[in-house]
Symmetry: C2
Subunit: 382 residues, 2 copies
């Protein structure tokens, strides 16, 4: 029985973690659950799974929790996530969005708990702090992203295995077939129509811009101890090959599957064992798979993230935090799709490089969002 502390139970990933637990109730037990603001769903979830600890980070929504099961301790507020980590869990499944997810991972490592990682900020912003900590504590940081899970599978679940290159696949996102000159006019709704994957709004926009792919490059660098030049991005519109690893002898191992997070989520909990998932088979017959390079004119944001990678230090943190705010502005219809790259650029220009500590990252995280709002004030709304 694997005991799970699930952080972010009401999000897209969190709900699928619960599906895995429903599928294999003899193998998994939700010990603690934490959510942010979706108190109505969280209320249902805690009454179904009856965790020992339940935590809601947004105190304003507490009144929407109608009933707390007997035997469940309830926490709310800023420290709620840390309460959720401090439990008898074997593994912390971090599916929280934003900087809070990083703090939870830090605490999990301090408590020597393995972490299944679906939070982007942890490695994008804090990789240089988190990975040495995890290594020293002997804690595994297990990838949950479909791409990093695929790489992990190609490495036979050995993140230290030697390889030549990592090839991260990219669908190209919702706007891949929109003529470049028309990208200026696309709405949030257009950018949310992802052809292959059904995910949260923020990440779907990040797929369209390929900001997400830039972040995945950073995560792969940390997870698999890879240099930037040993990571290639391959545009693969069909989202059948979830990523690949090239070895010294020229062999390329690939992981294929239907485009669904169920597999990587379950595998993060069961590897190296693989448990059946019903109706999850990929039928390869009749499939055509295409692979190409990134069109830099279509995806200028990827280059901005790449510049942040080269700058290093707090810049990836800045770009990650800024992107969250910029995407909000885009989703609210306040800025154009093509302005996303421009905003990211400007944030990079305005951030000074300071040494990386958990405190400085938190500062840069907040500062970057403020800078976005300031740029917005100066540029004005549409």
């Amino acid at each position: 029985m694997i005991k799970i502390a699930l952080l972010g139970s009401t999000g897209s990933i969190g709900r699928q973690v619960l599906s895995v637990v429903r599928r294999y109730p003899d193998k998994f037990k939700i010990i603690t659950m934490a959510a942010g603001s979706n108190a109505v769903l969280f209320s249902e979830q805690i009454n179904e799974f009856k965790p020992k600890i339940a935590c809601l980070t947004n105190p304003e929504k507490v009144s929407q929790i109608k009933e707390i099961p007997l035997g469940t301790q309830f926490y709310y507020g800023e420290n709620a996530l840390l309460h959720a980590v401090d439990s008898e869990a074997d593994i912390v499944f971090d599916a929280v969005m934003g900087y809070a997810g990083l703090k939870a991972v830090k605490y999990a490592i301090e408590l020597k708990k393995n972490v299944a990682l679906a939070n982007k900020e942890t490695l994008v912003a804090g990789g240089s702090l988190i990975m040495p900590m995890a290594k020293e504590a002997g804690v595994n940081i297990i990838p949950v992203d479909s791409e990093h899970s695929a790489i992990f599978q190609c490495l036979n679940f050995n993140a230290n295995k030697q390889f030549k290159n990592i090839l991260i696949t990219a669908s190209g996102g919702a706007l891949r077939n929109v003529p470049i000159e028309e990208l200026e006019k696309v709405s949030a709704n257009d950018a949310l129509m992802h052809p292959n994957w059904n995910m949260g709004k923020k990440i779907t926009i990040d797929c369209a811009t390929m900001v997400n792919k830039g972040f995945e490059v950073i995560e792969a660098m940390w997870l698999f101890n890879a240099k930037r030049e040993n990571i290639k991005v391959v545009v693969h519109p069909e989202s059948i090959v979830h990523s690949l690893v090239e070895f010294d002898d020229g062999a390329i191992m690939a992981q294929m599957g239907v485009p669904s997070m169920e597999l990587p989520i379950q595998l993060a909990l069961t590897y190296p064992e693989r448990l059946p998932i019903e109706n999850h088979a990929l039928n390869l017959y009749g499939k055509t798979l295409n692979f190409s390079e990134i069109d830099k004119n279509r995806y200028p944001c990827f280059d901005v993230v790449d510049r942040a990678i080269k700058l290093g230090g707090v810049y990836p943190c800045a770009i990650s935090a800024a992107d969250e705010r910029i995407v909000e502005l885009f989703l609210q219809g306040k800025i154009k799709y093509t302005e996303i790259a421009i905003y990211l650029e400007k944030v990079l220009e305005k951030i000074e490089n300071i040494s990386v500590t958990f405190d400085s990252l938190e500062y840069v995280d907040r500062l970057s969002r403020i800078i976005v709002d300031e740029i917005y004030k100066i540029r004005g709304s549409l």
Copy 2:
């Protein structure tokens, strides 16, 4: 230093084994070498590699061996292959064609030597005898075929790993785009123009007919302890994906690479380690990969082999030996391409099922060739 007994050094596979040894002279040493009839090339090879034992199976060609290096023992004749096996080799690389290759494997297992297997007959005809012997002796039968090597790689070099289905890829061979109604008229030269792979003549014809793919199904059954219903054939004209393995959770692992035997040959000697091979990288950018089911009308031979699999016993041996003779007749221009399936069918009808022993296999091997010649006498030449 891995000491190799190389059987079949002058063939396409054997020559590439020697390339591996040339590439890594500090890692590999050719201890014994055996060849069949190409005495001129063999003479060069033994003087380059100076094996401790050199064996030529065709006694009529012995006079073409101009010089035997000092320190090399020379054997010739029918037992020469067995002399080659009986050495201080760590591994027997069996790249011999025909039934003799099976006898050599049997002897290698008796001497408890691991076998890198490029000989088809060993498993196609003798799998039911060889595999239990190998298991009991604790001897590894290491796949060399690109498809089986790919499967082995997808199983992380663990032939006992649990899986759901094996997917063997097939290029479709040289005639895949010839209209079915024109297949009757194709010449040996047409059938030898393989679009992706550069191999021996016999196997290139077997690729065109997909007899080879049927044999590979049999080999996969033995190598990976698979049932027939858990092996699928996927037509993949680009020959980039060399085969795939599907797991219980829906993940499909695939091995990709340039269509070259260098990788599987080297890997059979070095696995789980992977050593660099120069100019062997696959550039995935710009590639389109297609996957489809076998067109049964185009490849009737595949179904005949499948029937032999279902019949079991000595039938796979019969079909394998008969095919060798039938392809000879086709290469000599004596029978039509479309007659290959008809001949194979007729051999299946004429063979009686007798219990499988090494002796009965040898008998069926000879008998099947005789039956082919008898059918030819009755049907007459073109």
